[in-house]
């Protein structure tokens, strides 16, 4: 039962990732793409944690931890670039 629920959550999160990726590829402005990237990072973080639970090893959770810290720095850099762009 737990395996079935984990598999169903993985498939649903993959579908959400595909839907978010369409917005990232089609979005007209850079802000749309940035928000889509943020949502996609949240979805893939949930996928990483679910995969770690499914496999049952704590090392897989470290990938999610490191990605969360460094991905936030990257989004912060892009947002700062957009702010400087608006002021010019």
């Amino acid at each position: 039962m737990t395996d079935f629920i984990l598999q169903a959550m993985l498939v649903m999160l993959m579908l959400f990732a595909v839907g978010t990726l369409l917005r990232l590829l089609l979005g007209p402005t850079a802000s749309d793409r940035l928000v889509a990237l943020n949502v996609l990072s949240a979805v893939s973080l949930a996928l990483l944690v679910l995969w770690g639970i499914k496999v049952g090893r704590a090392l897989y959770l470290d990938v999610a931890l490191v990605y969360d810290i460094f991905g936030f720095l990257g989004f912060l850099a892009i947002t700062r670039f957009l702010k400087d762009r608006k002021e010019n």
Binding site: A30, S44, W51, V63, G71
Partner: protein, 77 residues
């Protein structure tokens, strides 16, 4: 599931190559490194995935944005 991830990574890479706006390419490359970290995790290589998440998602995005601050963002053609 790996096949689906590979198709997503392929579409993001071709979008990053073909886009006219450099910032859109950087955003697509950040998403590409995120999905490839996910794929490395699913292929049972978590150490490679940790390195990819640290370098690809964080450091390379910051360096790319830092570089295109000193250039023009859109190409002319």
């Amino acid at each position: 599931m790996t096949i689906l991830l590979l198709f997503l990574i392929l579409s993001l890479g071709s979008f990053a190559l073909l886009s006219k706006d450099l910032l859109h390419s950087v955003i697509a490359l950040s998403a590409l490194s995120m999905l490839s970290a996910l794929m490395f995790t699913m292929l049972k290589a978590p150490d490679v995935a940790i390195t990819e998440a640290a370098v690809g998602a964080g450091i390379s995005t910051i360096i790319f944005v830092w570089a295109i601050r000193h250039t023009r963002r859109r190409s002319k053609d």
